[in-house]
């Protein structure tokens, strides 16, 4: 399995922290601006999205779901334009026509975000077919949660990808349950039983371990490009305790990166999740322990990310609402 270099490790941590600080900004803005929509935050998933997006090459396609912010930000989508879209502003990536659920950035390989459970997995197969027919060594990545496997189209999509041997990576973020209703209800013992029944190799990885995901995704993409086969990765996660059906609750507060080297700062009702399952603190602690990063360099990364988020906020808040006269324009190309 491929291990990130020192520079790659720092870049990986920076992507993860960018995703986290973006979501913290979204929560802050949701409190400040009442017209901001419902949001499904990516907190706790950062290791998966950052590692996967870092492994993609230019031209690769990615299809995401209602929990899309992290994927987009992780692939380098402009956070100001993404936030403006979440706020329904004219300067948003979709000009305010999509909102949080449908952020698209074609230039970054995100043609569409579907907020239908199972909406994007089929589109990703179409992307894979295009990659194959166009004979370029591009890969299409289907990003989805375990709940998608409750939907019938998942089985059609896996079957289609297997029959036609399409270059598709199925990357399932299984954020299981934390005392609430489970996010999926499958009769199969393991999620990977499903793709394997259709002759798609599947493997399970710890979704809170950035380097494990990085290695698994890197190897998978290499194999898909070489052999033109679909593959399935299940990234297992412990759900962030703020994740609720209607509106996220900011249970764990603003992330304090110093907790990575001062675990005594972790207190309160959600200390177990923060200590054991916060992928950012886990990775920062590991990099410091292995001498790949210093505490000061982690703080410097965080300062850089925070400054970018301030710029993003300023851009989004200064962006006007779209012209109401255009509400019905742009239906057809």
């Amino acid at each position: 399995m491929r291990i990130p270099t020192k520079d790659e490790a720092a870049a990986l941590l920076e992507r993860m922290l960018t995703m986290r600080r973006f979501e913290e900004l979204v929560i802050h803005m949701a409190g400040k601006h009442k017209d901001i929509g419902r949001n499904h935050l990516y907190i706790g998933h950062e290791a998966v999205g950052a590692a996967a997006m870092m492994a993609l090459e230019t031209g690769d396609l990615a299809y995401t779901t209602h929990r899309n912010h992290g994927h987009l930000i992780g692939r380098g989508v402009d956070p100001g334009k993404a936030l403006a879209e979440i706020m329904g502003r004219a300067g948003g990536l979709n000009g305010g026509r999509g909102g949080t659920w449908h952020i698209a950035d074609k230039a970054k390989g995100f043609h569409s975000t579907s907020a239908m459970v199972g909406g994007s997995i089929g589109l990703a197969i179409g992307g894979g077919l295009a990659c194959k027919q166009q004979k370029r060594s591009r890969v299409s990545v289907a990003l989805f949660g375990d709940g998608v496997l409750d939907e019938g189209i998942s089985y059609e999509a896996l079957n289609f990808a297997s029959l036609y041997q399409l270059p598709v990576l199925f990357l399932c973020e299984n954020n299981a349950k934390t005392g609430q209703r489970p996010s999926s209800m499958l009769a199969a013992n393991h999620l990977t039983d499903v793709p394997q029944a259709l002759r798609i190799a599947g493997l399970v990885v710890d979704g809170a371990d950035a380097e494990a995901v990085h290695g698994a995704v890197h190897d998978a993409l290499e194999r898909i490009r070489r052999d033109g086969v679909p593959l399935f990765i299940e990234a297992k996660l412990e759900r962030w305790p703020g994740s609720h059906q209607l509106k996220p609750e900011f249970t764990t507060g603003i992330t304090d990166v110093a907790m990575a080297w001062q675990p005594e700062r972790i207190t309160g009702a959600y200390a177990v999740w923060i200590r054991k399952h916060d992928p950012i603190l886990r990775y920062a602690a590991s990099l410091i322990e292995r001498g790949q990063l210093t505490r000061d360099s982690v703080l410097a990364i965080d300062a850089r990310v925070t400054a970018r988020m301030q710029e993003a906020q300023a851009f989004a808040e200064s962006s006007p609402y779209p012209d109401a006269a255009d509400a019905a324009s742009g239906v057809f190309a």
Binding site: S112, M116, I121, A130, E156, F160
Partner: protein
């Protein structure tokens, strides 16, 4: 002009499209049905095997593969067969394909074409006799083609392949074997332009798909009664040539609209409403719609016949409108 069947016109439009654009990809088999025209598609498979997929019976993923591949640069033609089969894929067609351009703020286009066999075929029963075009017209973002002749099939489909929007192409099962004159070579017909299929001064009959032929038969009968009906075929439901339809009504002052779909919220309803809004002052009598009752289509032949719009029913409606 040479003569060819509706099915052959479909195949020829696909052949021109496959030859002219390497991005054109067909997903589906049985493009020309399973009846006498079934073999018409074979020439395509012999020549373009690498661009024609014979998919599993998975309408949901067929529809989304079409949309996803279209967003990524292909020009897929997805064949569902019987229109009702695509009910399995409504989310993919309406919520993904239809929304794609608007929802992305114009960043992406989804130039996919979905082909559906619609209509009362004879013995189809409640599940295989649907004409669901109005259901899709009620969702924004989908072009809807309703060709009634081989020439319209070929010309409209060629335009759809050059368009950047998702398109639903509805072929009436009973039209597949219908023959007609078709211009030589490759040609295109613009969307949203109605064609006057028969000139007349006394009443306008607007009809789509197979019903155009019933309307023409009705017009021949009415002519013997000194009623000259103008038969207008919008050819596409989205975009709909409201101006062209109203222009005819302004000349004749009377309107009957024919549609094989259920009466309620049909394309005929939309046409009647549009004329009432835009050409009310020209109307000398109330508009009548000839459509199917709001009931499933029964299997039993006399029951099926009872609900199927026909030339006789159109003639009766026209006589009623002429009486005022």
């Amino acid at each position: 002009m040479p003569t060819k069947s509706f099915a052959q016109a479909l195949v020829d439009a696909l052949a021109y499209s496959l030859a002219g654009d390497a991005a054109v990809t067909i997903i589906g088999r049985g493009l020309t049905g399973h009846g006498p025209e079934a073999d018409a598609e074979r020439a395509l498979y012999d020549k373009y095997a690498d661009r024609i997929l014979d998919p599993p019976t998975s309408e949901g993923v067929m529809a989304s593969v079409g949309t996803g591949a279209a967003m990524a640069g292909l020009r897929p033609f997805v064949h569902f067969g019987t229109a009702a089969f695509a009910f399995e894929a409504v989310n993919q067609i309406v919520n993904e394909a239809g929304n794609a351009h608007y929802m992305s703020g114009g960043q992406v286009t989804a130039p996919v074409i979905y082909h559906l066999f619609h209509g009362i075929r004879g013995g189809g029963g409640p599940q295989h006799s649907h004409s669901p075009q109005a259901m899709y017209a009620n969702a924004a973002g989908l072009q809807i083609l309703l060709p009634a002749s081989p020439a319209d099939m070929q010309g409209l489909l060629r335009t759809a392949f050059k368009s950047n929007n998702p398109t639903l192409l509805f072929s009436h099962t009973k039209l597949l074997g219908v023959t007609g004159a078709v211009p030589e070579g490759d040609f295109a017909i613009p969307l949203g332009v109605a064609e006057v299929k028969r000139k007349g001064k006394d009443i306008t009959i607007v009809a789509t798909s197979l019903m155009v032929h019933e309307a023409l038969r009705a017009a021949a009968t009415l002519s013997a009664e000194n009623i000259e009906a103008e038969v207008v075929d919008p050819r596409t439901a989205v975009p709909l040539d409201r101006a062209g339809i109203c222009e005819s009504v302004r000349r004749t002052g009377r309107l009957v609209v024919v549609d094989e779909a259920n009466l309620t919220c049909s394309i005929a309803s939309e046409i009647a409403a549009s004329v009432a809004e835009q050409a009310f002052a020209s109307l000398k009598a109330p508009i009548l719609r000839v459509a199917r009752p709001d009931a499933p289509v029964a299997f039993s032949p006399p029951l099926e016949k009872a609900v199927t719009p026909s030339a006789d029913k159109i003639v009766a409606a026209v006589r009623k409108v002429m009486r005022g």
